[in-house]
Each structure stands twice: as structure tokens, then as C-alpha cells.
Symmetry: C2
Subunit: 206 residues, 2 copies
């Protein structure tokens, strides 16, 4: 079977715990790599170039855009954020499954460029639980709650576009489920076209 890694995009409701799931997945299994984003924002204390982000100037970033060196990018407020293609492709070629944590607009762009991308959407187990998390513990201002609600509405509109819904109820159970889903995906026929061709050729030879 093929040894190339799978490109995985993870999105999900705010507060769904997607970051924690991915962190745990990388701790437990060494066949995953987390994509590192490039950004034009300034490093915060303790952040290192090439670890949290690739820190770039606006000129450098725009050169990357022009040379099609980013899988996707977006501008938030005044800063660019994007996914450098080279690192991702390197990791995929070496057999690692590469995880990108991005939002729906970026996810759909990646899927368009790389149709074999696996899209995962992380959600709490129920709408009630989602609402609880959005409303918080009664300490949030109405503004914050409204902002979260609107964002969640937008996010929910995109759920159908994702391949799998990852239900985050218990962290360890969820991490195992994500791992199994990704490993299962390696067995998809369309990801093993070379193996199928090889079988056909071998049988034709007789």
C-alpha cells in the first residue's frame, strides 16, 4: 500500500478542544506532523521562529504569495497568516500525516487545491453542550457571548463540507477515534491507486 502521508485539515467550534486533541495526538503517535504557519505578526515573548510560527516581513510574505509558496493564506486585521507548501509536502513525502488547524474558508481552499485532503470537524457531543460552552459560566459579557454565537453559526454552516465529525466528549477517547479514522483513511481505494494498478498489471501478465 502507499506510504505517502495524508493532508488533514482540522476545524471546529470555538471551545471544541481541537487544539488539545491534536496536541495529544502528536504526543501519543509519531506518524503525525503539525503544519507550522507563516505570519507577519510580531513574535510574542517565548515564541520562536520555526516552532510556533515562521515569522516573516510583509514583503517576504507577499513574495511567498506571488511565488505560490503557500497552500492557503488569509489576512486577519493587519496580519497575514498562511500555510507554507514546502514544509507540508516534505512531511507528506516522508510518510507523515500532516495536520493543519485552520478555519472553514481556508479548509475549502486547501481541499480545492488538494482534493485528497481529509477534512475533520470537531464538535461537542450535543447542541446543549455547545451552547453551555459558548455562554460560559455566567462571567462573560453579552458582547463576548454574541460574538461566539455568531461565529458558531457561521462554523455550523460549513459542517456538511467536512468528511468526518469528531465528537469531543472525553479527550482520550476522542484522540483514539481521530487516530483510527485517519489510519482507516489510508485504506481508501482512491488513496491506493498505485496498488490497484499493480494488482491489475500482475494479473494481466498471466
Amino acid at each position: 500500500m502507499e506510504n505517502k502521508g495524508i493532508l488533514i485539515v482540522v476545524s471546529g467550534f470555538s471551545g471544541s478542544g481541537k487544539g488539545t486533541i491534536m496536541k495529544r495526538l502528536l504526543e501519543k503517535y509519531d506518524n503525525y506532523a503539525l503544519s507550522i504557519s507563516a505570519t507577519t505578526r510580531s513574535p510574542r515573548p517565548g515564541e520562536e521562529d520555526g516552532r510556533e510560527y515562521f515569522f516573516r516581513t510583509v514583503e517576504e510574505f507577499e513574495k511567498m504569495i506571488a511565488k505560490d509558496e503557500l497552500i492557503e493564506y488569509a489576512k486577519y486585521v493587519d496580519n497575514y497568516y498562511g500555510t507554507p507548501r514546502a514544509y507540508v509536502e516534505e512531511q507528506l513525502q516522508s510518510g507523515k500525516d500532516v495536520i493543519l488547524e485552520i478555519e472553514i474558508q481556508g479548509a475549502l481552499k486547501v481541499k480545492e487545491k488538494f482534493p485528497e485532503t481529509l477534512l475533520l470537524f470537531v464538535t461537542p457531543p450535543s447542541a446543549k453542550e455547545l451552547k453551555n460552552r459558548l455562554v460560559g459560566r455566567g462571567t462573560e459579557s453579552m458582547d463576548v457571548i454574541e460574538f461566539r454565537m455568531n461565529r458558531a453559526k457561521e462554523e455550523a454552516e460549513g459542517m456538511d463540507c467536512y468528511d468526518y465529525l469528531i465528537v469531543n466528549d472525553e479527550l482520550e477517547v476522542c484522540v483514539e477515534e481521530v487516530h483510527r479514522i485517519i489510519q482507516g483513511e489510508h485504506r481508501r481505494s482512491f488513496r491506493n491507486a498505485a496498488f490497484i494498478e499493480y494488482m491489475k498489471e500482475e494479473l494481466k501478465g498471466e
Copy 2:
């Protein structure tokens, strides 16, 4: 999430061990049901109506065809074989994943009628191993080998139509893989449309 079972069609190269895998899967986990075929052939000694097959007369079988009570059927030599719809739907409704062991023509017919059907194709780990199994231990007649080879060629042509390739190298490992793939499939977005709608509705209410 939804509790309805998944309809699963299993095909594979002769000698791929698909029957053994499914038997083991049913022994290990109680969330699976094996579909029982109807046939017009006579019961062999030890076979029981409703266990190995539903034994029917030609008249009865043709009445089932006319009333669209079969998901798929085919005629081999002089006997009809088919999959009764009622049993399958009952099991799916009760939450069981229902397994159908049929060949490619039947598999594609089922997929057409029920687009959410999961198609699994069982294969040895390599073309070399497949050839070894087809050629046998040198005790087979040329006729038998040729028959197997031709059939394998036909079977290989359909591999692309299946959702997953199940590589049967070690039985227990393979059974676990099949189980994980099927359980993972329960998390596919398109199998959880009601959950997604529910989320959207809940968020709209705010």
C-alpha cells in the same frame, strides 16, 4: 449522533479470506449482523431455513422480485440468489451494521439503490501473494488455475469502485482494522445529517 446501522458490502478476491474475516468480526462484536440470502437451490444436509439461507421455490422467489422485496438478486446456473430487503432494513433500524457478502455486480446494484452503502474489498497484501494463492500449491489443474485467474482479473477491474481496500495479511489485525474502519464511518458527516441540522437549529434560536 445517529444510531442507524450502516449497510456494508464485502467483496474480494477468491481466497482473500473475506468469509473468515466476517465470521470473526461477528464473533468479536455484537453490533454486526450478517445478511441472509434467499435462494431457490435445495438445502444441503445440515443447512437450515433462515440460518444459512432462506430457501424459497422459484415461484416464491419470482414473487419477491416482482414485489421489489430484494435489494439485489442474480441467477447462477439455474438458481436464484438474492438479498431480502426486510431483514436488512430491520437490522439497520435496530442499529446493527449489516454485512452483505456479494460480488461486484451485486455490490454496484446495492450502492445504486442505497448510496450510503459502504463497499469493502478484501485483498491479499501483494500481487505476488495473490498469484501464489491463485496458482495454489502445484496440485491444481490448469483449468482451475485459469478459471481463478480470469475471475481475479474481473474482480480487480472493480477494485476502484470500492470505498476501502482491506488487506488481509494477519487475520486478527485485519478484523480489528475492518472494525475500526466501519466504526469510523459512523462519524462521516453525510451519515449525521440530522445531528448537523440539530446543531444549526439550536444556534439559530439564539
